[in-house]
Symmetry: C2
Subunit: 204 residues, 2 copies
Amino acid sequence: MKLPTKIIETAVNEISRLPGIGKKTALRLCLFLLKKDINFSENISKAIVDLKNKTEYCDICHVICEDGKCSCKSNNPYTNKEILCVVEDTPDVLAIQNTNHYNGLFHVIGGLISPIDGIGPDNLNIDTLEKRVSKGEIKEIIFALSPTLDGDTTAFYISKKLSKYNLRVTTISRGIPIGGEIEYADEVTLGKSISSRINYKIEQ
Amino acid sequence: MKLPTKIIETAVNEISRLPGIGKKTALRLCLFLLKKDINFSENISKAIVDLKNKTEYCDICHVICEDGKCSCKSNNPYTNKEILCVVEDTPDVLAIQNTNHYNGLFHVIGGLISPIDGIGPDNLNIDTLEKRVSKGEIKEIIFALSPTLDGDTTAFYISKKLSKYNLRVTTISRGIPIGGEIEYADEVTLGKSISSRINYKIEQ
């Protein structure tokens, strides 16, 4: 693809380094920006740099926060401080919060144990998790990790490590998604949903 | 969607103002940027601002250029200075250049005549087009405008206006589907439509 100026070429190259954005989309975005006034570009530009400069990871739960004011430090009376959900990364926290089905604490471990990728327990935020649990206030740990080999390994490792504490350890249920057809479900999911069946309750 | 910090919220809002990027994609891009180092964000940020600050529109052909060095002013011996292609906008120039079927001049008129949107001939770069034609060097004008009512109106208006000059007036063949946009046509079809251009006739 020939581009008219070096400046546009640079912009297209930079923008297309973002995930899911190819050269054509990048060019479309560039031409859109060229039509808008300079404030538009400057605002986006500032937001992108601020994003990295002004945010940090909470030193307790490792969720992204601002000025050290993480929600895990606030005294929100609606937060249940006896349950803690262990997730891989910040997007998982947002996804769970948006369900409105959970009002407990979170802990981002920052990845999964993966020997192939050279990620061991020491690369993850597991020490800080144990520190939080050791204070005794937390009664239950919920694993909300990806249902993969790495996710299972990580959950297994953490549950072993925390076995000396008096904790209930649970994992989010796996099964057929709401609205999903049994006929089209994959065998592993369907098998799992049968073996981990729950008592049928009539919702009133 | 609840977001963890004001900074991320601002960034998501800014990025989602770009075309084709919604809040979810914007959040995904933000979280990606947060994982990269600050140079990555700064490079994108700089490219976006430079894009607007350091580019300009050529005062002759109105194509985007840099430091006033437009290709229309260069003495490229491979450029055929006897034919001139009239297009709506810069992406159309890029699309036609990429076909390798055209080595003539370009003229970006910057839009189409559209009474509904209040765009008249005076809002477009038609005066500068006439000025170029009046010098007598150009022998042929090719319309490569979108095959829409506005496109046809614009071609009609320009051909009337230039009828006093001794010009061959052609239009790219309607190989591209009616209702399609030039910017998104595939290169083969677009190239074919240029090489098989037909005489422009005013339909009565």
